[in-house]
């Protein structure tokens, strides 16, 4: 019973860790893009496409991390 509770706590910690890293990453990517668009608005579409690629790669980590309960 006690072991089950410890494992459940660790799983919750894992969910948190899997979300917080990519959360910070996505925040940084978006904030830098907005900063760049504010400096050079005419480059917006190019910067948004680059940002989208950055977000896609960063959030892949979150999705993989959050799905790990299925293999453990």
């Amino acid at each position: 019973m006690e072991n089950t509770l410890i494992v459940a706590d660790l799983a919750s910690l894992g969910y948190g860790l899997a979300a917080i890293g990519p959360g910070i990453g996505v925040g940084l990517v978006v904030s830098k893009t907005i900063e760049s668009i504010a400096r050079q608005p005419e480059l917006a579409s190019k910067l948004q496409v680059t940002m989208w690629l950055g977000i896609a790669f960063t959030e892949a980590l979150a999705l993989i991390g959050l799905a790990t309960p299925f293999i453990f």
Binding site: V30, I34, L53, I55, A62, L63, L66, A67, P69
Partner: protein, 140 residues
């Protein structure tokens, strides 16, 4: 409508192409996953492969859609749509994973590996589409 393999020359064409190719690749991975899942774990394996691929297609598509829709809004709206969409997506994903975790017809490893394969495939499609795109540096 742009051809699936043509080089996108603007953001709309790029996102349309990415969504189309991502869905097609996800369907191909789902088919492959269903076959492997059925061999490994029978019907639960097939169901898990389908669910894993569907989750990956929806979540990859939501990212592209949020940037596409957000890009048409002013800067504040763009920020809200992209980051708000990200929060909604992660919360939804945690709820889905929580609901599926203890379901009997789920074969965990099949779902996990199909999901990872679909995510990595989606990222490859995204990266290739951006590399092939010929988007003008300056907006008109």
């Amino acid at each position: 409508m742009s051809k699936p393999n043509s080089r996108p020359t603007n953001v709309n064409e790029l996102f349309k192409q990415v969504l189309l190719q991502g869905t097609l690749l996800g369907a191909a991975i789902a088919t492959f996953g269903v076959t492997i899942g059925f061999i490994v774990a029978g019907e639960p394996g097939s169901a898990s492969a389908l669910i894993g691929a569907a989750i990956a297609i929806v979540f990859n598509g939501m990212t592209a859609l949020s940037v596409w829709i957000g890009g048409k809004l002013p800067l504040g709206g763009f920020y809200g749509v992209v980051l708000g969409g990200w929060i909604v997506k992660i919360v939804l994903f945690i709820v889905v994973i929580g609901l599926l975790r203890d379901v009997e017809f789920i074969h965990g490893p099949t779902l996990f590996f199909t999901l990872v394969a679909s995510i990595l495939g989606g990222l490859t499609i995204d990266a290739l589409a951006v590399l092939r795109a010929r988007i003008p540096t300056f907006d008109e």
